[in-house]
Amino acid sequence: MDIMNKARVKSPWVLHFNCGSCNGCDIEILAALTPRFDVERFGAINIGNPKQADVLLVTGPANKRNFRVLKNLYDQMPETKVVIVVGSCGSTGGVFYNCPNVLGGVDKVVPVDVYVPGCAARPEQIIDGFILGLQKLAEKGKKRVEGKK
């Protein structure tokens, strides 16, 4: 593994976007940042700025009100990036499935790399999904290097 990819995996900066979730998953995500689960062990920071983020963490279903915002945030994130969806609503639409104002899962708007199902997803699950996301990040980084060559 080259040094750039190693650094990429060790320093995932997170952008958290709530797409109209009930806040259940968001509270679990915040729990993952607290002393008990402490995702900063893996170098993750809740950066709140798409231009510097590597991981887009989305909760809640994509709906007609905010899908443009979601798309905009995704487009503002520079390569290399992954999208992780937390919760049933974000994965498939969940209990809001087929509602007139809801488009469905987040993957209807942006390409998703990791799904973390659950209502609400537990912090352990979120961390598991996060680690899976980091592996995807490393793969994408490798592809990007090979693409350049």
Partner: protein, 289 residues
């Protein structure tokens, strides 16, 4: 006959080590902060991983001037560090640091983002709060050493700290503002849990952000080194003192919430000026100068 090793080789080595020590200190900072919050925290090398990763990411450049200004921030910070290690003029050092800051502020105004603009204005305010304290500190050093040269601090018979303890503490305020730590992190902070998001750093991405981060480490090291020079002949004790103040700034960061800019100006000006003026008054009365 000037000795080439201590006159050229050592300063160059020290200058090259500046960003590395700065990055290590940032890592230790994050580890200690995590332990204060009873977390485990990231590895100590974390800031280096961050910078390497940022360097490899695709940048979003908002204007053609932005990378130049980001490089200017790093370049002028390094120039200021060079002025310090080669023991040149303290006033020149101060103006070079100010130029580095101006580069950062100009870069933040070089986009249409309102977050970036408000961060730039707040960075100007933090400059307004610490620059006068820095100038007063340097003038007090002049009163004791009768020279604006860094070398003057080394020519004293006893450490500067014994004569200027108030100035040393006032420099602590400068350190906290410069490190963008609470309660003075009004322009930007590492963790963006604030209404201004990333402040001055908002529009930087990829390698421009990496350069700004490196420049920030160098500037932090610069202030810590000036503090270490307060125990000038024996720099090991001086470094210990600087690290002590570094630790105090971490404690303050974890204890205090962020102040408004008005409170920041009042705090740094009243406490900073009062400490320095009281120190100078005591010196004149006791005939130390």
């Amino acid at each position: 006959m000037p000795d080439p090793v201590s006159n050229y080789a050592l300063p160059v080595l020290l200058l090259a080590a500046f960003p590395f020590i700065g990055g290590l200190l940032r890592g230790i900072d994050r580890k200690i902060t995590a332990h204060m919050q009873s977390r485990i925290g990231p590895p100590i090398l974390q800031p280096f991983y961050d910078v390497i990763k940022l360097w490899g990411k695709k940048p979003f450049i908002t204007s053609r001037l932005q990378p130049v200004l980001a490089f200017g921030y790093l370049g002028f910070s390094l120039t200021a560090a060079a002025i310090l290690v080669f023991r040149l003029d303290l006033l020149l050092l101060l103006f070079t640091v100010a130029t580095a800051d101006v580069c950062l502020i100009a870069a933040s105004f070089n986009s249409k983002s309102p977050y970036s603009h408000i961060g730039g204005m707040r960075e100007l305010l933090s400059m307004l709060s610490y620059e006068p304290v820095m100038i007063m500190s340097i003038i007090s050093i002049y009163f004791v050493t009768r020279s604006f040269l860094v070398g003057g601090m080394f020519s004293l018979a006893y450490p500067l700290l014994l004569l200027l303890p108030g100035v040393f503490v006032a420099m602590g305020f400068v350190l906290i503002v410069e490190m963008k730590k609470s309660p003075f992190d009004i322009s930007a902070s590492m963790h963006a849990h604030q209404e201004i998001v990333r402040g001055v750093f908002t529009e930087f991405s990829g390698y421009t952000m990496a350069m700004v981060e490196l420049g920030h480490w160098v500037k932090m090291m610069l202030i810590l080194s000036i503090m270490a020079y307060f125990w000038a002949p024996n720099l090991l004790i001086g470094a210990g003192l600087a690290l002590l103040l570094f630790f105090v700034s971490l404690v303050v960061d974890n204890v205090y919430p962020r102040l408004t800019w008005q409170r920041m100006l009042k705090t740094t000006w009243t406490f900073g000026f009062a400490l320095i003026l009281a120190n100078l008054a005591a010196l004149f009365l006791l005939g130390g100068v």
